[in-house]
């Protein structure tokens, strides 16, 4: 029997390959988590802005209503005075 040649030492390339794989996979998963977190923050901010806008709209409506009631009240009192 002839002794077989030992395979070449290519372990450094194997380690490099698996290191690259795990680093790229980790970067992708972290990017997913960061994007998810940012979207949640955007969502809460937008919801808060929407609430604020609704409150402002309601206040404006109330002010407009009170103005119209005051105007109509003043017209009525004028009409009564004329009579």
């Amino acid at each position: 029997m002839f002794p077989l040649d030992a395979p070449p030492d290519t372990s450094a390339y194997m380690i490099a390959g698996y290191t690259v794989f795990f680093i790229v996979a980790a970067i992708y998963i972290v990017s997913l988590l960061i994007r998810w977190h940012n979207l949640h923050q955007d969502m809460t901010t937008l919801e808060a802005i929407e609430k604020e806008n609704k409150l402002k709209e309601e206040k404006l409506l109330k002010v407009e209503k009170s103005k119209t009631t005051k105007k109509s009240g003043a017209k009525k009192s004028k009409a009564v005075k004329k009579k």
Binding site: L4, P7, P8, D9, T10, S11, Y13, M14, A16, G17, Y18, V20, F21, V24, A25, Y28, L32, R35, W36, L39, H40, D42, M43, L46, E47, I49, E50, N53
Partner: protein, 232 residues
């Protein structure tokens, strides 16, 4: 946004376990290849990521067609998810292949038909995201994206068949390839176990990431809609 479904949580755990087992099988269980040495172990993850990457691009093309037929944004969200994960996997495939090629072919890169078609495929999908970023209207963006993935999807079978149709130095492990290919080897039963489990593990990981990415896409669509409502 609804909390994570139990099935998805189980799938997350299954993916981590599958990856751990695939790593064990590739690095410890499978025997060392006699001609190439330890670097041959890169092959298990190289094929696993290529399998999911290329199938993912075809899957995205299918989702693009579905969007064009149904005009429902949920298909666009799924299409983006499939393309993104496939692009990441296929990038890993190319890098692992390059690392394997250095000691076996004595070069990091060569303009071989397989390597060239793989690089073109990856660039097509990088450009896909650039295209989407440039379009503000969600419906128009989805329509353009769907057509693009449909055309881009053609690159996946071309890349797969390139080593079977053209003269190449890239080895063909399953089926017969070019006799001039460098780095071809016969798989032992233990190598086959590592190889097929690798394919299974990366399929599970793809499904898990796909589901998670769809959930994120749905949230992003909701945020975008709220922003548009506030602006108008």
């Amino acid at each position: 946004m609804q909390s994570k479904p139990l099935t998805l949580k189980i799938l997350d755990i299954a993916s981590v376990l599958a990856l751990a087992i695939a790593t064990y099988l590739a690095l410890i269980y499978a025997p060392e290849e006699a001609m190439m040495g330890q670097v041959q172990r890169v092959f298990y993850f190289h094929i696993g990521t290529a399998w999911t990457g290329l199938l993912g691009f075809l899957f995205a093309a299918g989702l693009g067609i579905t969007y064009l037929v149904k005009q429902d944004i949920k298909w666009d969200i799924a299409e983006v998810a499939a393309v993104e994960i496939s692009a990441v996997f296929f990038f890993i495939t190319i890098v692992l292949g390059s690392i394997w090629a250095r000691p076996i072919w004595n070069t990091w890169w060569t303009w071989d038909p397989r390597l060239t078609t793989a690089a073109i495929t990856e660039l097509i999908y990088v450009a896909y995201f650039m295209l989407r970023e440039g379009i503000e209207d969600p419906d128009r963006r989805a329509r353009f994206g769907a057509v693009y993935t449909l055309i881009g999807g053609l690159s996946a079978p071309i890349t797969f068949l390139s080593i079977r149709l053209f003269r190449t130095i890239h080895p063909v492990v399953i089926g017969s390839g070019d006799p001039n290919a460098t780095g071809t080897f016969a798989m032992t039963p233990r190598m086959e176990v590592a190889f097929f489990f690798g394919l299974f593990a990366f399929t599970v990981i793809f499904i898990d990431l796909f589901w998670n990415r769809i959930r994120m896409g749905q949230l992003a669509a909701k945020v975008e809609q709220m922003k548009l409502n506030l602006m108008h």
